[in-house]
Subunit: 450 residues, 2 copies
């Protein structure tokens, strides 16, 4: 039986899909915190290159991918789409399970899709140095690789808990020529303020973003780069879903349920948005399920309001699901999902009932990760394992009801740099983290029926 | 410019290439150490399944790959062939450099090619448990994955120095459901004998093989599995070269030089042997360069004679290059190249002057590994980095002479589980290991001219 659906290099999408062209109402605009008025594009110019700022508000349905970006994508794209038949057998399910494998990228995750685009646009506009933050290290690896490719310097602030849990991500980032610091650090006012209050702070993406922005703003020919949340980042990720649509066609099936994990929302959006577009056009009842950790339940227990993207309140205000910009999530292993906020596009689609959020405990998540690894031979990243667990839950439900559903997993990355988490799980040292709010588990239960 | 040459799944080779059909004289046979006579196939039946024993001496030029093995191969094969244009630019060389990327396999190296075949053949003959040794952990990971795939139990003895340097390989092996022990261990008479002499022994592949064989022989429905050296193992690896031949044709070039790293010899053979066959048929002057560590200089400074494959003298005697079955190499990071012996097929072709061995210091090797990573975005395993370094040396020589050569690298695996080695290198803690014998560096020098 054919279980892998490859595309030719000629079938690599030449344009990204821009969902802003197809929303039923416009997104609430980002606000300038000084005036509470919609922020002017010029106000973002200290942080981002012009092209990315334009893409934040673009209304064209498709936006051409520059040729130099395609050239780099072609080193590993199109990525494979697999049918997980061995997982299906292990679950004894009538469901068909597919996964789109972004672990094939040089740094092992989807993050390179936007890193390459951002490094290219910055370089083309004369920027020589990019500063960023990273959680689990996937984004920092991707941007350091992209900067190296286009000849830019790169500085990474890595959330301290991940810096300590995953020292080899630091080594990978250094191998690609970037400099890296644990955050909070003494290098910035934002970092020093946090350390003054809590010298043992495990850090958070919100804090690391503040530090990166501070360094970017004070540097010459230096800009900031964000690995998720913003519209242009989600745009660059749609290459995933555009490929997957062609590959599901090769497989001869339409997905009934698309599942992904959400931290800031970019990998989930990258897979889901092109399918959302097609499903709307063809009135297909596709379900979109977004999985998050129950200790950082941005979508399942957060408020929907304007909030800052960072702890030091230096970003524009974004309309989003948020746990509060000062929320510091517990040190779980899925570092990439430890973010207080959410991409405004995802928030919008959750408000509209298009995307269904669920929250899981990391112990359950790792159980499914091991099940997947033994069946399919690939170790998921802890973040990705949330998506895998959602698929396992749905497939088990299908088995119980003898229903056939087609499930498509956004497999955002491999877990080669997260083996300390697997070691802890296998040694019985991984604990159930206390949930914030009590309702998330039930929410997950009720929504996952096949 | 096209820099990646992919094959369709339909182009996956359906048969392995058996070089025994094309050697100018027969290999010297393995001997029974009790009689010094050629060993009878039955004497190997305690260790290996019948099909693998038959393949040891088969004379058909092509041997069909069983359909269930092809099914597993198709999860990641055909693997990509890349042209390393960014490395070429970094070296400012007139050489064209290609690499065949075996890091695309589930466990990150070529080892899965034979692991899957061996697990299949054993399972088909009623074996329920395989025991093996592993150096850097690539082989142990591959066999644990393969055993999981075909429903066999798996036990791995891992050389202690690698077990300690690379704890995450252990975690990966456990994630695939195998049990793993550091070697020398107290579990076997062979291990206890070594520990009695040297309680701090870093271990060696020779010792770990002795322990694995001892456990395999005493177990019920249990056999032993070897990840290199033997003819049937090299046979299974030829899928690499058979794919690469088709891919070089797509690229429109013939390799002038094929480089690979050698520990036991299987990845190098897997790439080189099909090209050797074609080059001989078409009288093409292809060069075959085998790179090894200068602290374990089996080909460049070892003797050619009959020797045991393991320390406890339990294997048949093989005619091979050897540093002596009791040789314990220094604890360098390329754990997969720390073996005292060599595949008899490789020894044969070195004796005939077909394969040219070179030896390198690990500091030089890591310098090239970082150069490669920054140019191409992929971190080579320390073993693979020996092949990369050989290619870099040849390409630099081409640049100096303004000669155009086409170099093909056997890229045996990625370095995601070797980041402690990269960390040591980047932190300046990696040292030049003292060479055994003084002549290997010069040998390398003189043979690498473009």
């Amino acid at each position: 039986m054919k279980t892998r659906f490859d595309l030719d290099q000629q079938e690599l999408p030449k344009a990204w899909y821009n969902v802003l062209a197809d929303l039923n109402r416009p997104l609430k605009p980002p606000l300038d915190p000084r005036t509470n008025e919609p922020i002017a594009p010029e106000a973002l110019a200290a942080l981002f290159p012009t092209t990315c700022i334009e893409q934040e508000a673009a209304t064209d349905r498709f936006i051409d991918i520059p040729e130099p970006v395609l050239d780099v994508y072609r080193r590993w794209r199109p990525t494979p789409l697999h049918r997980a038949v061995h997982l299906e057998r292990a679950l004894d399910t009538s469901a068909h399970i597919y996964f789109k494998y972004e672990g094939a990228s040089p740094t092992g995750s989807h993050k390179t899709n936007t890193a390459v685009a951002q490094a290219y646009y910055n370089g083309a506009e004369g920027v020589r140095h990019l500063v960023t933050e990273t959680g689990a290290g996937q984004w920092g690896s991707a941007l350091s690789f992209a900067c190296q490719t286009f000849g830019l310097d790169c500085t990474v602030y890595m959330v301290r808990i991940s810096y300590e849990q995953k020292p080899y991500r630091k080594t990978m980032i250094q191998s690609f020529g970037a400099e890296i610091f644990p955050s909070p650090s003494e290098r910035t006012a934002a970092g020093r303020a946090i350390l003054a209050e809590d010298p043992a702070s495990p850090g958070s993406l919100g804090i690391a973003i503040s530090e990166a922005i501070e360094e970017a703003v004070r540097g010459e020919a230096t800009k900031y780069s964000l690995g998720s949340v913003l519209n242009h980042v989600l745009l660059h990720q749609t290459v995933i879903g555009l490929e997957a649509e062609q590959q599901m066609e090769l497989a001869g099936e339409d997905p009934d349920v698309i599942v992904g994990c959400v931290g800031g929302g970019s990998n989930f959006a990258g897979l889901a948005l092109p399918f959302f577009h097609t499903a709307a056009k063809e009135s297909r009842p596709t379900r979109f399920v977004a999985a998050e950790p129950h200790v950082c339940p941005t979508l399942t227990a957060g408020e929907t309001r304007y909030d800052f993207g960072d702890t030091a309140q230096t970003t524009p205000l974004l309309w989003m699901h948020t746990l509060g910009h000062d929320f510091v999530p517990p040190p779980i292993h899925a570092g990439g999902l430890r973010y207080h906020g959410m991409a405004p596009i995802i928030t919008h689609l959750v408000e509209d009932g298009v995307i269904e959020p669920v929250a899981f405990d990391q112990l359950d998540v790792f159980e499914s990760a091991i099940l997947f690894a033994r069946a399919e031979g690939i170790l998921p990243a802890p973040e990705t394992a949330h998506a895998v667990h959602a698929a396992v839950r749905i497939a088990r439900d299908c088995a119980a009801k003898d229903e056939k559903k087609v499930i498509l997993i956004g497999f955002s990355g491999h877990g080669h740099f997260d083996m300390s988490a697997y070691a802890a799980y296998l040694d019985g040292e991984l604990v159930t983290a206390p949930a914030r709010g009590g309702s998330t588990a039930q929410l997950g239960e009720s929504r996952l029926f096949c």
